[in-house]
C-alpha cells in the first residue's frame, strides 16, 4: 500500500518547494502563498511584477515538465465540477487568507497556530468531500 518511490520523490519535491519559498521570501520579503500571490497580482498595483514573475515561474515549470517528461496532465474530474471547485478554492483561500502553501507550508514553518488550524480544517473538509464523492463516483485505482 505504501508506495516507497512516491514517498521519496515527495520528500525530494517537498524540499525543493521549501527552498523555493525561502528564495521568494528573500527576494521579495513576502510569504510564498500561491493563492495570496494570485490575489495580489490581480488586485494590487504595488509589486505586481514580482507576483507575476513568480506565477510565470510556476507556469514555466509546467511547460518544461511537459516538454521533458509526460506528467499526468488531465484532471479526471468533470469540467462542471472543476468550475464549482475552482470558485470554492478561490473564494475560500481569499477569505481564509491562505492555501496549502500559505497556511500549510509557510504558516506551519513559522509555528503559526492559526495556520495549523486552517490546515487541519481544509484537510478535514477535503476528506469529508472525497468520502461523500465516493458515494457517487467509482475511482480507478492508480
Amino acid at each position: 500500500m505504501l508506495d516507497k518511490a512516491l514517498m521519496l520523490t515527495g520528500l525530494l519535491g517537498g524540499a525543493l518547494i521549501g527552498l523555493a519559498a525561502t528564495v521568494y521570501l528573500l527576494a521579495t520579503g513576502r510569504v510564498a502563498g500561491v493563492s495570496g500571490v494570485v490575489a495580489g497580482a490581480l488586485g494590487e498595483r504595488e509589486a505586481r511584477g514580482e507576483r507575476i514573475a513568480f506565477l510565470a515561474g510556476l507556469v514555466g515549470a509546467g511547460l518544461v515538465a511537459a516538454a521533458v517528461s509526460s506528467p499526468a496532465t488531465a484532471n479526471p474530474t468533470p469540467t462542471a465540477v472543476l468550475i464549482v471547485a475552482g470558485v470554492l478554492v478561490g473564494f475560500g483561500t481569499r477569505v481564509g487568507g491562505g492555501c496549502t502553501s500559505g497556511h500549510g507550508l509557510c504558516g506551519i514553518s513559522r509555528l503559526s497556530i492559526a495556520s495549523l488550524v486552517a490546515t487541519a480544517t481544509f484537510i478535514a473538509t477535503g476528506a469529508a468531500t472525497v468520502a461523500i464523492a465516493n458515494l457517487f463516483v467509482t475511482r480507478p485505482t492508480p
Binding site: 525530494l12 484532471n75 478554492v89 481569499r94 514553518s109
Partner: protein, 144 residues
Amino acid sequence: MNRRQLGALAAGGLFGVGLVVSGMTDPRNVIGFLDFSGRWNPSLIAVMAGAVAVHASLLALLARTAGGRGARLLPPRSTRIDRPLIVGSALFGVGWGLSGYCPGPAIVSLGFGARTAFAFAAAMIVGIIAGGLVPRRRAGCEAP
C-alpha cells in the same frame, strides 16, 4: 526585469519543479491523500514534511544571521483564529477535495496545457475576486 522580479521568477520555477517532482500536480495523488476509504495515499505528508523541514530550518538560520537582521525579513504573522479563517479554509477544502487541485498545482498545470486546468483557474479567479468582497483575512500569514 529587476533583481526582485528575477528572484521571484526563479522561486516560482523552483516551486513548480518541486510540485511536479513531488507528484502534487497529479490530482489523483491529492485525492488519494484525502481518501481514507482503504487506499490511502500518504505521499502528501512526505511533501509537507520535506517542505516544512527545509523552509523552517532556513528561516531559523536566517533569524540568527546578521545580528537578527534576518528576522526582520519575516512579515508579521497572525495568531488570531477567527471566523473567516475557519469558514474560508473549510470552503477551500471542499473545492480541493472535489478537484484535487489547490492553487499552486493548478497554475503549474496551465503550463502542461491541460484544458481542465484552464477551466479551474478561470473559476478560481472569479472566486478570488468574490472573496475580496466579504470580510476576510489578509493573504499568507500576515497580521490582519
